[in-house]
Amino acid sequence: MTSAAAIAPARSSTLTRTGLILGALVAILGLSATAGVRYGLLLAVGLGFGLILEGFRFGFAGPWRAMILRREPAGLIAQLLSIALVALVAIPLIANNGTELIGAHAPVGYAMIGGAFVFGACMQIVLGCGSGTLVNAGSGNPVSALALPFFAIGSFAGAYHLLWWTNLGTAPVVVLSGTSGLVLTLAGLAAVAGLALYLAAPGARSLPRRLWIAAGLLAVLALANLVVAGQPWGVVYGLGLWAAKGVTALGMDISGSAFWTLPTNQARIAESLLTDVTSLTNIGIIGGAFIIAAWRSGLSARLPQLPLRAWIGTIIAGFLLGYSSRLAFGCNVGAFFSGISTGSLHGWVWFVAAFAGAFQGIRIRKALGLDG
C-alpha cells in the first residue's frame, strides 16, 4: 500500500525555513556593511524577483509556449500587465530625472532583430529565458543549470563582437516619451492583450489570482530596481560580465574588443561583481528561487533522463541565448520588459521578432527530445 504521506514530498522543517530567511537577511546586511547599502538593496531586489518568479510560477518562455500551443493567454497577459504598471511610473519618472535614471533605450537594427528572433527560438528550446534560466538553475533544473554558464560565455562573446554587428545597419534610438509616449505604450500593450484574448481558446480567458499578484509585485520590484540602481531591470549584461571576469582572471587579452575596452566596461571588470547592478540582481534571482524550492522541499525531485542530443542542444542553445541577447540589446527582461516599460521602440520590435522565433524553437525542442 502506498500512503499519501509516502508520495508527497516531505515539508521543509521550521528550522530549515528559519535558516533560509536568516541566510537571506545575513547576505543582504553583510553586503550592505561591506560594500554599501545600495548593493545590499539590489541583492534584496534580486531575491524578491526570484521569490516572485518561482513562488508564483511567473515566467516568460512557458506562457509564450502556452499561448502558441494551447492558446492560453493568461501568462502573456500577466507579463503585459506588469509592463504596463511599470510604464505608468517609469516613463514619467525617467522624463523628470533624466540624469539620474536611464531607460532601457536601444536602437533597432538588423542584428538586433535577428538576435531577438534567435533568442525567442532558444528560450523555447531550453524553456528558459534570461530570468527563467536563473530561476530554474536556482531551483535545481539541470537543463537550465547546464545552459547558464554557456549563456554567460555567449553573452560575453556577443558583447565582444557587438559593434561589428551594429555596424551592419542600425537606426537611431527611438523613445516613446512624455504623455503621448506613455499613452502609445499603454495602448500598444492593451492591443496585444486584446489580440491574445481574441485568439484564446474557449474558457482560457481568465487570469488566475496568483498572476495578478505576481504582476503587481514584479512591477514594484522593477521600479525599485530603477530607483535604487538608476537603470531598469536587466540580466544579460551581468552574465557577460561574469564570463569577462573569468577570462581576464585566466589571462585572456580582451583588448581587441571595442566593447570590453570601453571605460564603463573596464571599470566594471576592475570592480567587484558585488558592486555590479545586474550581477547582484542575477545572484538574488538564483538565491530567491532556491529559497522557494527549498521551502517547498522541491529539491528532492529526481533529475530527468534525457538523450545526449538534448544536453548538446542545451549547451548550444545556452550559448546562443547569451550571444543573441547581446545583439538584441537585451533578453526578455532587458529588452522586452524593461525596454517597453521605459518607452524604447526596440522593446516592441524585440517582442515581435522573439515571438516569431518562439514558433521555431518549439519545433526544435521537440526534435531534440527535450519534451521528455
Partner: protein, 58 residues
Amino acid sequence: MMTRRLTVVTVFALLLGLLGVDLANSAPLDPFQAPPALALGSGLAGAGAHCAALPTAD
C-alpha cells in the same frame, strides 16, 4: 543523489567559485566609497552598464 539537490549544490559551488575569483582579482570593497543608497535624488549620472546600452566611444 541524482536529485535537484545535486544541481543546486553544483550551481552554488560554481557561483561561490566565481565570487572567490572575483574578490581575489578586483578592487577591494569599500562601503565608505559606495554611491548613495538610491540613485534617484542622488544627483549622480547613471553608470550605463546595462544590456540595452548602445556602446559608444564617448
